[in-house]
Symmetry: C2
Subunit: 380 residues, 2 copies
């Protein structure tokens, strides 16, 4: 009998994404697995139950989780969800594992093989499985749409019979995947775009999108592991901050995207800088879930300061364009799942020698096995 893949409706409030699309359902079926999708799982991502059925899935209910061999999820399963899964089940999700020791133990105790998709190594073979990139790209896009919606002026220059409307000045801090898409989208909308990053290599990418790259002389390069930045020294921070302070007072829209892996997000904008901005300016803090890049940003809230600057701190920004986010996320998961399916038997097998597996497998055989979370090695 074929093994079964289950795709639940996400239980977290405001999570509109879903871990499979009609396209990936078809592909999983082609690998020899059965697929059961919980009813309405795709609704908020604009996928109808009938779309999944046409692709070959059976529409089921939450209770179908109990017999599934593989569970595809967006978010880490809750305690209730874990309790329903059968021993030995494979779970692929964004597990948000840092500081989640209790949840990891629970998954280990339940005998799950839990994979954290966000720990996928940034190597060529795994690009198609890179959920951080696929979702950050969309967050960068949506950040500009959210900013444009909140902004009380038009972004493009407009030459009208009643005079010329100047283009908005948009400043993007952090030119990683999210930042580059924010630059591209702001350019599309006609903004005058500048950007900064502590990694010197970002300069060329910013310029290729038509943005002006701004970097302090004091800082040669702060590239770190996996394409992220390292933390700056105090002197570097000070020089960067002075540069930013002068620039930010002239901006209409600022989008911050700076993250350092495993650490709180760096503070890039302090209250004085916010106070220096014109009324009606908009800041989008994409790092707000990790503590925020902006003094005064609040997770899940839109704050208006005393000088009428709007600071947007939406959570789960990729989830704000759930339909596209799900399409790409589903493909990321499918691509990884495919590597674990044995072509002959059509069953899923975990090869712990595979570097993709060792990088992402959190729990297995009743234990936390990932070295960064107290597994095999004790390195933190």
């Amino acid at each position: 009998m074929a093994q079964t893949v289950f795709v639940p409706k996400e239980s977290l409030a405001d999570e509109g994404r879903v871990a499979a699309s009609p396209d990936t359902v078809k592909r999983i079926k082609a690998l020899g697995l059965d697929v059961v999708v919980e009813t309405e799982a795709g609704r908020a991502s604009r996928i109808l139950d009938s779309d999944y059925e046409t692709a070959g899935a059976r529409i089921g209910s939450a209770s179908d989780a109990t017999s599934a061999d593989v569970i595809l999820k967006v978010r880490r399963p809750t305690t209730e969800e874990i309790a329903a899964y059968k021993q030995g089940a494979i779970v692929l999700a964004t597990m948000d594992p840092f500081g989640a020791e209790e949840a990891l133990s629970a998954m280990a105790d339940a005998g799950l093989s839990a994979f954290a998709m966000e720990l996928m190594p940034r190597i060529t073979r795994a690009q198609v499985m890179d959920v951080l990139s696929s979702q950050a790209n969309l967050a960068g896009y949506q950040a500009v749409i959210d900013a444009a919606e909140a902004y009380d002026r038009a972004l493009p220059m407009m030459m009208t019979a009643a005079g010329t409307v100047p283009a908005a000045k948009v400043f993007v801090m952090g030119a990683g995947v999210a930042g580059l898409q924010a630059i591209a989208t702001a350019k599309r909308l006609g903004g005058v775009v500048s950007a900064t990053d502590v990694r010197a290599a970002a300069g060329e990418q910013v310029a290729s999108l038509g943005g002006k790259f701004i970097m302090t002389e004091a800082l040669k390069d702060a590239s770190g592991e996996g394409g992220y930045a390292r933390e700056l020294t105090d002197d570097e921070k000070k020089a960067q901050s002075e540069l930013v302070a002068g620039h930010i007072a002239k901006q209409d829209i600022v989008i911050t995207t700076a993250l350092i892996p495993g650490r709180p997000a760096p503070k890039l904008i302090d209250a004085d800088m916010v106070a220096s901005m014109k009324p009606g300016s908009v800041i989008v803090d994409l790092a707000v879930e990790r503590g925020g890049n902006v003094e005064g940003s609040k997770a899940g809230e839109v704050v208006v300061t005393k000088n009428d600057v709007t600071i947007i701190g939406h959570l789960n920004v990729a989830g704000r364009i759930a339909a596209t986010a799900s399409q790409l996320y589903a493909k990321n998961l499918y691509a990884f799942l495919e590597t674990m399916v044995d072509g002959e038997s059509g069953s899923v097998a975990i090869d712990r020698e595979d570097e993709l597996v060792s990088a992402t497998l959190l729990t297995h055989g009743g234990k936390v096995v990932h070295e960064r979370f107290g597994g095999a090695s004790t390195e933190a």
Copy 2:
């Protein structure tokens, strides 16, 4: 003593626009008039009291209306506001005069010279005073921003490691000022844009913006007065409707902008067409204040249909980008005011022989004088 121009804070809830900008204050001063701006009048348009002061205005309170010779407003004055104005005062505003006989009588009884800016003739000399165009342009822009914000997918095509995201299909109905800006903005954002209009001349303009023009063969041309469309015959309506029905089912975003002067907006999209659209599709009905182009749209509301189509019916869409809207509106009013100021004496005089005056003057000398509202001529 110089005559005084007063700029109040708009009293209507959710009206963020203001009828003067620092730029127009400076220009009005240069004409020899004094300017008093009510405190916080510009706040929602991101203009500080200090900005007006720097431009030469005095910051006052609502009670300064009583001594003003000219009042610049966005909306028609309320009964309370009218009571405060002195006899003979000139009021420039969008008066929304159709069906507002009571308000017109009140302004006449108060001895006001009330001008309806939206009746400005569409002639070359008056382009700079055309409030309908300046505000419709911004409404067209904002309609696309509102649609993009509500839409659960990205608008541009995106080629990513996890697959290609298709571009959104955007359909604009009515290619007047608002429609053309909607086409331009949707193109900027990467949408695949088509448009329709009953005026044949619109085809070239749509094409020049990169949109695909769609028009039924049965309809050669329905251009009417002042650049607007005439009402269609029943046969024409039917042919147009069949064309639209087939097209609309494939669209992701639809923006409707069709108005006929002095009549309710034409119904372009019926409930069956809405029901034919995919879940997650977004319709923006820019004609909702005039009855709407879309069956099921509601003034001031965002409706989600049973098949998960979002119908946006925001009122005062230009007011949703108040800062830019005020900049252009203020310029429109200034340009008209300037034509009424005598260069020698620096005082405002109404020349009823001027075609701009005769087209826009509603009340004067204690009477309703505009021929379309029961004045001199009785034509309706």
